[in-house]
Every structure is written in C-alpha cells, then in structure tokens.
C-alpha cells in the first residue's frame, strides 16, 4: 500500500502545482499524519529487525543474553529513528 502511494505521489508531482498542493493539504490532516508516523515507525522497525535477521544469517546473536539485549535495542532504535524523523 505504501509503495503504491509513493508511485501515486510521483505522478501527482508530475501533474503540476495544483494537484501537488491538494496532496499536501490532504497529508496535513491529523489522522493522515498519524498514519504517516505509524508507516515510518513500521519502516524503521522492519529495517532494525531486518538487520537483526541479517546478523542471525551469519550465525551470530543466538545466545539468550544477546537475544534479550538485541530485542530491546531493536525496539528502542526504531522508536528513536521515528522521533528523529518527526
């Protein structure tokens, strides 16, 4: 869904200033803004968890302590990155 919205936004930029302003007005609604933050949070969480999977792929990080620590790093880092975006 997100990807298709990005494709749509490219076409809206292409359509000219009027359509672009309409898009920006729409993106300004509180409910849409909240949706965007969740989308960005989901993106960063996926990114952090993906890196963790890449670490697992090379056979690291399977000890219990590592598991607990990395899970917390993953959750915290995705929150921090979302706040930086904001």
């Amino acid at each position: 869904m997100g990807l298709i919205i990005y494709v749509a936004s490219f076409f809206i930029i292409l359509q000219g200033n009027d359509s672009y302003l309409q898009l920006q007005t729409m993106l300004d609604y509180t409910i849409i803004r909240i949706g965007i933050w969740f989308f960005i949070y989901a993106l960063f969480f996926h990114l952090c968890h993906g890196i963790r999977h890449l670490i697992w792929d090379v056979g690291q990080g399977f000890e219990k302590d590592d598991m607990d620590r990395n899970a917390i790093i993953e959750l915290a880092l995705s929150l921090v990155l979302t706040l930086i975006f904001y």
Partner: protein
C-alpha cells in the same frame, strides 16, 4: 486410473530448486535498502514540506534521480519476494497460490515501471 509413475509424482514436489536465488536476492535487496531507506525518508519529508518547485529541483538532481530509480527497483523487488513468501506460507490451494503469486508479481512490475517512468519525466522538467 493413475497413469503417473512414482518418479513423475515426486518430481517437482521435492526441493524448491530455485530457492537459494530467492534467498540471496532477498538479502541483497535488504542490504541495498538499508541506506536507500534514508533516501525514502528524506523524500517523504520533502513531500510533506517542500514546494512544488523545490521538490522537482530536488528530484531532478542527478544523484537523487539515480537513488530514486534504484530505490524503486530494490523496494519493489524486495516487496514482491516478501509477499511471495507470505502467499506460499498461507495459501494452501495450489492453483490459487500460483496464480496469486503471478498476479502479485505482475502488479508490482507494473507499478515499479510506472514509478520509473514518472521519475524520468519529473527529471525532464527540472
């Protein structure tokens, strides 16, 4: 009456054969997308704040046009591979599984190509 030999029955039902290719491309696109996500995030910020003029200039810079196209290719490929796994895991009727995987992949191909065309057209304006 079953005319198939036991060998013919087993063929094509065993290992995935092309599975390692899928696995590798998923990892390669994942690693590629780590830095490209930062591009995507800064594009999102432009989209929320920049004027029409500014975002066109921003997108038509040679680096940003290239990053946009690479991002589209990597992101759509990665998404198609990921959804393929979801469909394979959760759809159990063989013909629905195969046809929905193809429909999904062709849809991603269509939108990916549309995105690349749009990016080139935007960079022509700037």
């Amino acid at each position: 009456m079953d005319y198939q030999t036991p060998l013919a029955k087993v063929r094509g039902l065993g290992s995935a054969k092309a599975g390692t290719g899928h696995f590798w491309m998923q990892r390669i696109t994942a690693i590629t997308l780590i830095p490209l996500s930062l591009w995507m995030v800064s594009f999102t910020q432009q989209l929320l704040n920049a004027t029409h003029q500014d975002i066109i200039i921003w997108l038509s810079g040679p680096l940003d046009t290239t990053l946009a196209v690479v991002w589209v290719i990597a992101a759509f490929y990665h998404a198609a591979l990921g959804l393929q796994v979801v469909i394979e895991d959760y759809v159990h009727t063989e013909w629905i599984k195969i046809s929905s995987i193809w429909a999904m992949k062709l849809t991603f191909l269509f939108f990916g190509l549309a995105a690349i065309v749009a990016i080139f057209k935007i960079s022509m304006i700037g």
